[in-house]
């Protein structure tokens, strides 16, 4: 604090050394991302088509191209600890247009997987896990939707676990196999008490 001599504390952050040093990069990270995403994540040439296509970019600080750069350079910590990682809508617009035929969406998904292994994940994603566990749906049906469906001549509930709740058990079995629910419960408890 003394260094800033009365300037706002934010200046301290601005005075940090932000150089990219070789030991910031972990080549294993690039390999893992490729293996999990099954796309050529290391081939990004930073053209910007993905960010230019991304519906999230104009509405947030999320920049898919920046995550692609981190994948290429193996900047593991920077990628996994950036909260923007969770702002992709998984619309796949970037994947449609990437001239290098990379699937950036899947790169994001692989990074989320790796982050989750380190318990880095926003609580709302965990609540989705819990919702799927109990109902089979990330976004369960509600009365507004039911009314809209009726108006369109559809059944009030879709032919999913909503209509056949006996299949929820199957979904729970899958989630349990990957210990997804247990981990979600544990982290939510740690964060929310």
């Amino acid at each position: 604090m003394a260094r800033t001599k009365g300037y706002p504390a934010a200046l301290d952050k601005k005075l940090q050394d932000t150089k990219f040093y070789l030991d910031d990069s972990n080549p294993e990270f690039t390999k893992n991302v490729k293996a999990i995403s099954r796309t050529t994540a290391h081939m990004c040439y930073q053209c910007g088509t993905c960010t230019g296509s991304c519906p999230s970019a104009p509405r947030s600080s999320y920049r898919i191209r920046l995550f692609m750069r981190r994948a290429v350079l193996g900047l593991e910590n920077e990628a996994l600890t950036d909260p923007d990682l969770w702002l992709c809508t998984t619309c796949y617009s970037c994947a449609d247009r990437c001239p290098r035929d990379i699937i950036p969406t899947d790169v994001i998904m692989s990074m989320r997987n790796l982050a989750f292994k380190r318990d880095i994940i926003p609580v709302n994603f965990l609540k989705t896990v819990q919702a799927i566990y109990s109902s089979g749906h990330g976004v369960p049906n509600n009365d507004v939707n039911r009314a809209a469906r009726e108006k369109l001549g559809l059944t009030r509930d879709p032919p999913t676990t909503h209509m056949y709740p006996e299949y929820i058990k199957g979904i729970q079995k899958i989630l349990d196999h990957y210990k997804l629910k247990a981990n979600a419960d544990r982290i939510v408890k740690e964060r929310e008490g």
Binding site: T49, T51, G52, S53, R97, P99
Partner: protein
């Protein structure tokens, strides 16, 4: 490896019993060789083996001492040596000396590939006093040390195999004498863009009669559609028309426009080419004279055009100007000769009437075929734009104000459809902001666009930016780019100049373009990658720097000449660095963009290179043909004639000889493919240098294997 050794010993045992069976074959081979070549010496084979280290290229991957020791044990080997660089002068001297000291009858060099150094070692063999065809190469580099770099034991074994097999053949090689055939003192150039024109002008300047075949109605190619040319900004037509006129006037150039190559037969020195002159419906003044019509033939007056009722889009103006069914592309065409588009002509006859006594128009014209003989040929078939509407995100053919670079050239050109006023196609308004989408469809690995860089679009987009700034005060060009590739002489300086003039450069590949349905203006969406911000810039007009691809008829034409192409269709040069104008078909060369995207300076340089290369065989007057042709062993030939139809080069015929019908080979036509030799049921066909006993000996050497 262990397993291999086992089978090897087993094979060696069987070999002992087999030797007797093999031997007669070998002897028969020698007899046949004698019959065929009539010059083989009866002496026992004495083969010299020369092993090259290629620095560490070969020596670093295998145990050459073991290979050398092994080579000494191979039957018929009389001498073994090794050298650091066998292809060097001292290396060749080793071969020369050994041939003389050891009375060698055959030479094996174990080194790189024949493609690289077979000519070198053939010369060395010849200088040692042997016939050059007594040389055989064992490839222990490309097919061995380079691919088995980390398997010392395996590569050593493989090198032993390769040498044993080569020795087996070398022991049976015979003297061969290449045939020299005369070269026709004429050349053909296919495609009359700037490349084809330059090549034809150079060839004719060197005194060579040149047939220039162009599929369009006029010569000039793409360059005649351009307004100005980077980086010097000379007017394209101004520098091109003098060349076009020269081509039209040069007596040694015979011009075939509205024509294409129909059939090609023969080989270097003697290509017989059939040209199809497509029905044009209009005869030239020369043709008029030949038909005895006094003062007849088309004089370019254009009266016909005035009366013709059929209106079509003019392709030269990228469809932005109308033309009639009887038309010329533009006023400077060479030859100045009208053409009827018979796909749209309604045969009303109005043009015939107005043309009157000149009798230039023949509505019943048919395609004509002309046969010419040439010694060498150059392909210069150029390029066309990739259909950029396939990349749907940029809206070409969907949004009126999205155009291509070639359309821009016509719109900014004083002789173009708008008299040089750049306007928005939607409303004829002058744009104030023009976006340029670089790499449109190039550098694209999605399978829709092209993976390569189209090479001239960066530079012409800079040129377009300059033209806008110069012609339209207050209009700003925005270039959306990934990299600006300004690699040529004075190109980087041109980039500097255009930025200084006020062009805006945004580093981001355009993600998509949206149209405002009311104003027809365009929203260009991308990421300013340097600011790290998504952007949405509203442009009045967008120009796509579309990728280029080989022109439509390139594939058919190249096949006629036996020329290969790469995966993306560009014609394949003999060597990308050391022989960029040659092809693997002797006597056929490449000029300009048909070999790969090139700007005009590079195109002209390549054309001059091709012309020079194509003139060499013609000036030499004769070429040597590889003596690998088939020969008929008359005593064995039953005269069944089945081989005659199999030969893909029509080199075989049945003839009467001593009262019998036997097959005869026209050696100059035979390419040594071996189709007939492999087929003949009576074994009557002897393939020089690839004779059955030679090949059988190689197979035996491989199968019998082991220490000899």
């Amino acid at each position: 490896m262990v397993e291999k050794k086992k089978t090897t010993t087993k094979k060696t045992e069987t070999k002992k019993q087999d030797t007797k069976k093999v031997a007669p074959v070998k002897q028969e081979g020698k007899k046949q060789a004698k019959a065929a070549a009539g010059s083989t010496t009866e002496q026992k084979a004495r083969v010299g083996v020369f092993i090259c280290h290629c620095g560490t290229n070969i020596a670093g991957s295998m145990d050459l001492t073991a290979v050398e020791a092994y080579a000494k044990t191979i039957p018929n080997v009389a001498y073994v040596d090794n050298y650091k660089y066998m292809c060097s002068m001292p290396g060749q001297a080793v071969i020369n000396k050994a041939i003389n000291d050891n009375k060698l009858t055959g030479v094996v060099v174990a080194a790189c590939s024949p493609r690289l150094h077979e000519p070198t070692f053939r010369t060395a063999t010849k200088e040692g006093g042997l016939n050059p065809f007594r040389f055989e190469m064992a490839n222990i580099r490309e097919q061995n040390s380079w691919v088995h770099m980390h398997d010392q034991e395996g590569s050593t074994d493989k090198a032993k195999d390769a040498i044993r097999i080569a020795v087996a053949k070398a022991a049976l090689l015979q003297d061969l004498f290449p045939k020299a055939v005369p070269v026709e003192k004429a050349a053909m150039v296919v495609g009359a863009g700037v490349a084809g024109m330059q090549a034809a002008l150079d060839l004719s300047a060197a005194g060579i009669k040149t047939y220039l075949v162009e599929s369009d109605a006029s010569i000039g190619g793409r360059m005649s559609q351009l307004d100005k040319t980077f980086p010097t900004l000379d007017c394209s037509q101004c520098i091109l028309t003098p060349k076009m006129v020269d081509v039209g006037r040069e007596p040694l150039i015979e011009l075939f426009t509205w024509s294409e190559v129909h059939e090609v037969e023969g080989y270097i020195g003697n290509f017989d080419v059939t040209i199809r002159k497509k029905a044009r419906g209009v005869i030239s003044m020369a043709e008029g004279e030949a038909r005895g019509i006094v003062g007849g033939g088309c004089n370019g007056c254009g009266d016909c055009e005035g009366v013709c009722p059929v209106v079509k889009p003019n392709e030269f103006e990228m469809g932005m100007k109308p033309r009639k069914a009887i038309y010329i592309n533009h006023p400077q065409v060479v030859p100045l000769l009208y053409t009827i588009d018979f796909n749209s002509c309604v045969k009303c006859g109005l043009c015939v009437t107005i043309c009157g006594e000149k009798k230039a128009i023949d509505l019943e014209a048919k395609d004509e075929f002309v046969k010419v003989k040439v010694g060498t040929a150059i392909l210069a078939t150029g390029y066309e734009l990739f259909p950029i509407e396939k990349k749907a995100e940029w809206g070409y053919k969907k949004f009126e104000n999205v155009i291509t670079g070639l359309e821009f050239e016509r719109l900014i050109c004083a002789s173009g459809p708008t008299g040089g006023h750049l306007v928005r196609p939607s409303d004829g308004q002058t744009p104030k902001k023009v976006g340029f989408v670089l790499c449109a469809g190039s550098r694209d690995n999605t399978g829709i666009g092209k993976p390569y860089c189209s090479r001239f679009c960066c530079m012409y987009s800079l040129k377009h930016a300059h033209q806008i700034i110069e012609k339209i005060p207050g209009c700003t060009p925005y270039l959306f780019y990934m990299d600006i590739r300004s690699f040529g002489k004075a190109y980087e300086e041109f980039y500097y100049r255009i930025q200084d003039e006020g062009a805006k450069f945004i580093r981001g590949r355009v993600a998509n373009i949206l149209e405002d349905p009311k104003t027809k203006s365009l929203h260009v969406m991308t990421d300013d990658t340097l600011l790290n911000r998504p952007i949405d810039l509203e442009m009045d007009l967008v120009v796509l720097a579309s990728a280029v691809q080989p022109s439509a008829d390139t594939n058919r034409t190249r096949k006629l000449f036996g020329v290969s192409c790469s995966m993306d269709g560009w014609l394949l040069e003999a060597h990308p660095k050391l022989n960029p104008c040659g092809t693997t078909t002797a006597g056929v060369f490449l000029a300009g963009v048909c070999q790969g995207p090139k700007d005009i300076p590079d195109t002209v340089a390549s054309a001059e290179g091709a012309a020079s290369a194509a003139s060499i065989p013609i000036h030499k007057g004769e070429v040597e043909l590889e003596p690998y042709f088939a020969t008929c062993i008359a005593e064995k030939c039953a005269g069944c004639g089945m081989c005659v139809n199999l030969c893909p080069y029509s080199a075989l015929a049945l003839v009467k000889k001593d009262g019998r019908t036997v097959m005869e080979v026209t050696e100059a036509k035979c390419k040594g493919c071996g189709t007939c030799g492999g087929f003949c049921p009576g074994g009557a066909i002897w393939m020089n240098h690839f004779a059955t006993p030679q090949i059988v000996a190689q197979i035996d050497a491989f199968l019998l294997g082991g220490e000899q």
